[in-house]
Symmetry: none
Subunit: 117 residues, 2 copies
Amino acid sequence: MGSDQLDAVFSALADPTRRAILARLSQGDAGVMELAEPFVISQPAVSKHLKVLEGAGLIRRERRGQARLSRLEPGPLGEAAAWMERYRAFWEASFDRLDALLDELRQADAESKGTIP
Amino acid sequence: MGSDQLDAVFSALADPTRRAILARLSQGDAGVMELAEPFVISQPAVSKHLKVLEGAGLIRRERRGQARLSRLEPGPLGEAAAWMERYRAFWEASFDRLDALLDELRQADAESKGTIP
DNA sequence: CTGATGCATAACCGAATGGTTATATAAAGC
DNA sequence: GCTTTATATAACCATTCGGTTATGCATCAG
């Protein structure tokens, strides 16, 4: 997966309106008007947000009568979570153990380079 | 946790340079010059990225001689991962569907050849 | 003290972002 | 066919972003 896909996913998630849209879609498909209802922004603004989400692969859209339903497409969320997974050990270490972990890694790195800082 | 904290974290992660900086810091603290070395951008650009990461709470910084070391602060990464966790069931289901689809295609291919491997 | 090193800050620039209003298109209802 | 409903698109605007160069400030080395 190209790094620019991660760019798009994290960038899409950076906006609270878009996160709220995803949360709404996790409860079922919805049209633009329905998605716009909880917010004070205009309909075109919501359409733009949907285009961003679609561009990041986070939703898929299809016509259904005169509506155009958005459906959650969670794959890219999994990819982003997988990227974060590399850091799980860091945030799960308790605060006092974190320093030890970093020292450990730092020392291992120094040894691999053959340098003594 | 305020939603603007998630905003800042996801927005910080949206840039590949900043993700690379975090990856580097996961191997130990580093100064600005050392962090800038792998990139073709200028030193002030790296300083700006570090300020963004610091604003998102993803790094902490302290003077060490004439250097100013950055240290990974993984807490907010955990918060962001926790937010994503709500969708885990969705993307795992999506992978299950993918497996089913692949099984289907494999079987169709085998039948078209009339062979059972 | 002087000079070099590491970093921050300011001023600037072009492109992207998030919003608006106004208008166009597509399907449904009468 | 005409109107309403749902959505997209265009044009515009202010702000933010990611980069630059130039410069200032601290700290170490001599």
